[in-house]
């Protein structure tokens, strides 16, 4: 068989390298798109909270913690019946997420909570005929209850990562545009630098197949191994929300991966058809 000329082999190697670069860009572009649509989108978090019964579970958890506080401070269990409700939690969580995503910090305002706690406490003291209440002990109780409420609403690591999170979130649209332009340029190079267009299709097909494998392998492993459900979180509500969100993210990545598989198959058949046309 006659060997290919050296220049042709170098050309082929360069195009394969460009294909790899395109794989990398498609991988990053897809990952960033998923991040933008999920983690960087407060609606996604809020929707997952709703569908994972986050507010119902959270309500139970806060009530249990407050009842424990009651045991330590002389308050009856009944005091906390319907004290925290899902609507209140949902509104405060919405405000917390909105503040965080708009760059105003991970703040939770407990003024309303403290106010209603104080009102209920006054009523409780009056109804039970408690006469001697130490002001300092009472303040400590109210502050502790507010602290329990605040820490229950906080999402772990949110406040610690806020600086990185906001930087990444603000830069994300530019990164996405940059990566999309780069991917377009590489495709254009393939078509302009190849006289036989079926070769351009072939190199793009390599890249999309690579993107399919690179994107699909991690979520497939996570979902098959069930690793996601082994996360250690103290709160059951948070655990359910996390597992649901992580599964949604994995599914989104898998869908994009499958999209690349379909594109690859399409490009492969196109290549075959074009090649036949050229060689006949």
């Amino acid at each position: 068989m006659a060997k290919k000329p050296f220049s042709s082999r170098v050309r082929n190697a360069v195009f394969i390298l460009l294909s790899f670069l395109l794989t990398l860009i498609l991988f990053l572009l897809s990952s960033c798109t998923v991040l933008e649509a999920t983690l960087f989108n407060s609606e996604f978090i809020f929707d997952n909270m709703n569908s994972s019964n986050y507010f119902i579970d959270k309500c139970d958890e806060i009530t249990t913690s407050l009842i424990d506080l009651g045991y330590a401070s002389g308050l009856d269990e009944k005091f906390f019946d319907n004290f925290v409700d899902e609507v209140m939690l949902s509104e405060d969580t919405r405000e917390y997420l909105d503040n965080y995503y708009s760059g105003n910090g991970a703040k939770i305002d407990t003024t309303d909570f403290k106010q209603s706690f104080n009102t209920e406490l006054d009523e409780y003291i009056a109804n039970n005929g408690i006469e001697d209440v130490n002001g300092k002990s009472r303040d400590k109780l109210v502050n502790k209850a507010a602290q329990i409420y605040r820490s229950s609403l906080e999402i772990p690591l949110f406040s610690k990562l806020s600086a990185y999170f906001l930087t990444a979130k603000n830069a994300m649209p530019f990164i996405l545009v940059g990566l999309a332009v780069l991917a377009g340029v590489i495709c254009l190079v393939f078509f302009l630098a190849n006289k036989w267009k079926h070769r351009a299709v072939k190199y793009i097909c390599y890249a999309t197949s690579g993107a399919f494998l690179s994107l699909g392998i991690v979520p497939a492993y996570l979902m098959i191994s069930g690793k996601i459900s082994h996360i250690n979180l103290d709160s059951r509500a948070l655990y359910n929300m996390f597992v649901q969100s992580a599964n949604s993210v994995c599914l989104a990545v898998l869908f994009i991966s499958l999209f690349f598989l379909l594109v690859s198959l399409g490009l492969y058949f196109l290549y075959r058809r074009m090649y036949k046309k050229v060689s006949s």
């Binding site: 394969i16 009842i67 002990s137 400590k140 197949s209 690579g210 494998l213 459900s229 250690n232 655990y239």
Partner: protein, 240 residues
């Protein structure tokens, strides 16, 4: 070589590259990612190790009860040492894990008859009284620090007086203590207890004043000394 043969061979090698190259690209992509993240890779992995465990977390609020009362006529496996004292054999003791109920704490004169837990977490104090897990279990010859809420299980401590008897029943033996005194101290006062004491002593504490609404800065301590009970043989594997 004929044109047909060459085209066939070309088609075959081209077909292979549609499988091999994407696999190489897969490894290449993760190699690039690894190289890019190499400086923080170990940190990321150890963080992931902290967040993920081998099993799913158990969120049940039920506690494990390992307490089986020692019946009056039963004999525990003991060993006699050089000092002619009997010790409960180490392997006869089921050491409690955090949150396990492993005994009972009784002070008849105070109307206290509570479940005893290892650890003073929320579940323990919701259901009884708990030994601070930085202290020791009965029979170990060191300080036992027991906490309870003043409005529930340790409300009766307000009747505690010098000379009263405290009984702790466990699966490996029953222990009797005598109250030697009580004290009210600041919650932050570390001198209220000595966790490094090399003799067995029982300290029970709760919030003070009793029956007060709110969180207080003071704690009511009850101190007791060991009267009877077989100590645990702490020499693991000695002589084996």
């Amino acid at each position: 070589m004929s044109d047909k043969k060459r085209r066939h061979r070309h088609k075959k090698s081209d077909g292979k590259s549609f499988i091999i190259l994407p696999i190489i690209f897969l490894f290449g992509t993760y190699l690039v990612l690894y190289l890019a993240l190499a400086p923080s890779f170990s940190t990321l992995f150890s963080a992931a190790g902290m967040f993920f465990s081998d099993n799913e977390k158990d969120y049940s609020t039920e506690y494990k009860n390992i307490f089986v009362p020692v019946s009056e006529n039963s004999t525990l496996p003991t060993v006699t040492k050089e000092d002619n004292k009997s010790y409960v054999k180490n392997d006869a003791v089921e050491y409690p894990n955090y949150g396990n109920q492993f005994g009972e704490l009784i002070i008849e004169e105070c109307g206290i008859d509570n479940k005893l837990f290892f650890g003073d977490g929320e579940v323990a104090l919701r259901n009884g009284v708990g030994i601070y897990n930085g202290s020791f279990i009965p029979g170990y010859g060191r300080t036992i620090l027991v906490a309870g809420h003043n409005n529930t299980y340790f409300n009766g401590l307000k009747y505690a007086e010098k000379g009263q008897t405290v009984v702790i029943r466990t699966s490996y033996g029953n222990y009797e203590y005598r109250i030697t005194g009580t004290a009210v101290k600041k919650a932050t006062d570390r001198s209220a207890y000595d966790l490094n004491a090399d003799y067995e002593n029982l300290i029970m504490y709760t919030c003070y004043p009793f029956d007060e609404l709110g969180l207080t800065d003071y704690r009511f301590f009850v101190y007791a000394e060991l009267v009877s009970g077989t100590p645990i043989d702490k020499s693991i594997g000695e002589g084996d």
